[in-house]
């Protein structure tokens, strides 16, 4: 039980995908201008990432490994993820315009989120089993959403600040992300009992 807890805490805080593992930065920088949209993006990513880890695990263990086709991981994972994302988006758009407003518009962006491929690959590197993989996937996604929303909060505030001209916009956002990452280094060592 504590083992699972450590996986989750590790994925959310200690080895945060964005700030420590440096994955999924493009949406992190791109969709963090408003807290509201950050929430949407976070929710959508959480969904996709969890599904992606599950699907990748199944593909890896039941299609690739039995035939010694590990080299097809990248290819098969990403194509499957892209297709799932696209399907989900279409279904949501049709079935629930409200949900589409909240989540759907972010879905297409997620295919190019490194975390979506990176986390399944890390799962394999860490030799996680199915439950662990799912927890790690979900934990990473929550970690992503968490820092995304917090970052958006800061960006909203910093937007009003008297930032030197050349640093306005993305530059100061980068610096902010850096300082956030610095703060997250405080969690170092909290997962060593893993």
């Amino acid at each position: 039980m504590t083992h699972y807890l450590f996986i989750i805490v590790g994925a959310v805080l200690v080895n945060n995908v964005v700030l420590v593992k440096i994955l999924g930065l493009c949406p992190f920088m791109g969709v963090s201008k408003k807290v509201e949209t950050a929430f949407g993006m976070g929710a959508a990513t959480t969904f996709v990432l969890t599904v992606a880890t599950g699907a990748s695990y199944v593909i890896d263990h039941y299609l690739l490994m039995p035939f010694g086709l590990e080299y097809l991981r990248t290819l098969s994972f990403i194509v499957t993820i892209a297709a799932i994302v696209q399907l989900t988006e279409m279904v949501i758009q049709k079935s629930s315009p409200v949900l589409h407003q909240v989540l759907g518009i972010y879905l297409p962006l997620i295919t190019t989120n490194c975390a979506v491929l990176g986390v399944p690959l890390l799962n394999i590197a860490y030799k996680y089993n199915f439950v662990e993989s799912l927890l790690f996937g979900a934990g990473s996604a929550v970690g992503f959403s968490l820092v995304l929303v917090l970052f958006a909060g800061i960006r909203e505030r910093v937007e009003g600040a008297d930032v030197p001209v050349h640093f306005r916009g993305v530059a100061i956002a980068m610096v902010t992300a850096g300082l956030m990452s610095l703060a997250f280094m405080g969690f170092t060592g909290l997962d060593k009992y893993q």
């Binding site: 909203e156 505030r157 937007e159 009003g160 600040a161 008297d162």
Partner: protein, 574 residues
């Protein structure tokens, strides 16, 4: 009577500086050489001018008629001649001119006929009309037409009538002196409000730094046998804000989204009550008001001043000291700097403070907000001024609204306590007026879009019709062509008359159609969906066109010049 008092959060305690101006009784200001009476002296619609240059007016004669229900009449403060109805600089922070009636007093102070009435004998509706026509507006500072506040809410019973004698602004003593010297008329005026609103209680709140006024009011209430409670409330700015006073006296908090009657309370200033009494019981419209003249003057005192008296005439009475560099209208917390010595005293001018660099030192440089939270602690509306400031400064107005900028009463407590000396209120006013202006723009954009779409639709339709017509014509022609040779071959003789007749008919129809279209064209188009005012404007424009009817087209060029001249002169007259 023991009255339970409530507290409001926040507030500040600046030095009151009230003593200098209560040493002398209210003086009557002499008649100035010229009176400049702005037509727009209250919230609501701009009153229409009722006089013209050169006209003689009597004291109390209406010179501006209320425009809508929320609007209030304006009267000649004395008898004399109207010199002009023109734009004159206003007692307004913008320093911009506003339409004013300039009157040269004849010194005779000749009244119109006054009809004292007994309000108890009148329909409530009639009383409100009289108040409106007498120009009774809130003299507590907001100058909201009082008659509009005198209708109880339909669903909520009126519980409390709060009378505001708090006068929390430093320096200001006009209400204090009024309560000391004319308490009975105030109490009688309150009676009018009470009868109209039928509240269960009447509470008169007076800050406890005015014991004389409390005593005088208590005595008057007693004398007149009323059951009003005269309550001394703790001295703390802005205890006189309507919402704060209501909170202190009744414990109710009126949110910004509601009007106080919806919570069973209404609030009036003492001076408003006084003018209401004068208007009903003496038939005297509001022609003057008590103005505190204080600050950097040798002779601080309250004066009863005719509305329209230029500032320079008033301040001369107080003998300003030589280092006086500006005059504030209103208190030091909420007032503004008068743009000019020519600007007139208006209904909202409760106090004029002569300022000097020593008295009101120039604002120290604004530092950035350090989010110390002092402003939030001081804010009587429990807002987060620094957040509102942060987003106003960044012009992120959506966010300012999320932080309830429209709940801000602009009391200035936040600026007062700010260690960074930020003119917070100024930022809030800026944000508010930007938001309003944007709202206006948005409405205009929506209207424009609707009209654009309407026009597009019409264009489409017309195009389609035209295309259809052309097609029809083409088809007819083709049929004709087809028919003609055959007819020529076989039954040319027999059919040709019919055909010719048909062609003739068609030609006539076409001509008629053309004429109709032309007629239609002569009418202004696109007039659907316009407001009455716009239609009026169009009608006026049409009127100008009358000499330009088609028959006169030949003479067009010649007449054009004349016409234009006539028009331009007419315009000038306006």
């Amino acid at each position: 009577m023991l009255q339970q008092l409530f507290k409001f959060k926040g507030g500040v305690k600046p030095d009151t500086n009230k003593t200098p101006s209560v040493q002398l009784p209210i003086g009557i200001a002499p008649l100035p050489a010229l009176l400049i009476v702005p037509l727009h002296q209250s919230i609501g619609g701009m009153p229409n001018p009722l006089v013209e240059a050169g006209q003689r007016v009597l004291k109390g004669q209406r010179i501006g008629g209320p425009d809508k229900w929320v609007s209030s009449a304006v009267h000649a403060p004395t008898s004399g001649t109207v010199l002009a109805v023109e734009e004159r600089i206003a007692a307004h922070p913008s320093g911009l001119p506003t339409l004013s009636v300039v009157i040269e007093p004849d010194g005779r102070d000749e009244w119109i006929e006054r009809t004292p009435l007994d309000h108890t004998a009148l329909e409530p509706e009639r009383v409100r009309e009289i108040l409106r026509d007498s120009g009774v507006v809130g003299l507590g500072g907001a100058v909201f037409p009082s008659h509009a506040k005198l209708a109880p809410a339909k669903s909520v019973p009126m519980e409390d009538l709060v009378i505001n004698g708090a006068e929390c602004e430093p320096y200001m003593t006009c209400d204090d002196m009024l309560m000391r010297e004319r308490p009975e008329e105030i109490v009688r005026g309150i009676g009018i409000f009470r009868d109209l609103l039928q509240p269960q209680r009447v509470l008169i709140g007076i800050e406890d730094n005015k014991p004389e006024a409390v005593a005088a009011m208590q005595a008057a209430v007693h004398r007149l046998g009323e059951s009003y409670a005269v309550v001394a409330v703790p001295t703390r700015y802005p205890a006189g804000g309507a919402k704060q006073l209501i909170r202190v006296l009744t414990g109710k908090e009126v949110p910004a989204s509601k009007r106080s009657p919806e919570m069973g309370v209404q609030c009036f200033n003492v001076a408003t009550a006084y003018t209401a009494w004068r208007a009903i019981a003496h038939g005297e419209p509001v022609l003057s008001r008590i103005v505190t003249l204080t600050g950097n003057v040798e002779q601080p005192r309250n004066w009863e001043v005719l509305l329209g008296t230029p500032l320079k005439d008033l301040v001369a009475l107080g003998q300003p000291r030589p280092d006086t560099n500006r005059y504030l209208m209103g208190g030091p917390m909420m007032g503004f700097e008068m743009p000019s010595l020519e600007a007139p005293i208006v209904k909202a001018s409760n106090c004029i403070i002569a300022g000097s660099p020593a008295l009101f030192p120039p604002a120290p440089p604004e530092m950035p907000c350090i989010r110390c939270g002092a402003c939030a602690e001081a804010c009587p509306h429990e807002l987060q001024p620094f957040e509102m400031y942060w987003f106003s400064r960044a012009k992120n107005f959506g966010k300012t609204q999320e932080y309830n900028i429209f709940d801000c009463i602009e009391c200035g407590c936040c600026s007062y306590v700010c260690p960074s000396r930020i003119p917070l209120v100024q930022y809030f006013r800026f944000a508010k007026s930007e938001i309003w202006s944007r709202e206006r723009d948005k409405n205009m954009a929506d209207a424009a879009k609707a009209r654009f779409e309407l026009r597009n639709e019409r264009d489409e339709r017309e195009k389609a019709e035209k295309a259809a017509r052309l097609a029809k014509a083409a088809a007819a022609k083709a049929a004709e062509k087809k028919a003609a040779p055959e007819a020529g071959k076989e039954t040319a003789a027999a059919d040709s008359p019919v055909d010719a007749e048909a062609a003739k008919k068609a030609a006539i129809a076409a001509a008629m159609e053309r004429a109709r279209v032309q007629r239609e064209g002569a009418q202004p188009k696109n007039t659907d969906g316009l407001t009455v005012a716009q239609r009026k404007e169009i009608a006026e424009i049409e009127a100008r066109r009358v000499p330009l009817q088609p028959e006169q087209q030949t003479a067009f060029d010649a007449e054009n010049a004349e016409n234009a001249e006539a028009q331009s002169s007419r315009r000038e007259k306006q």
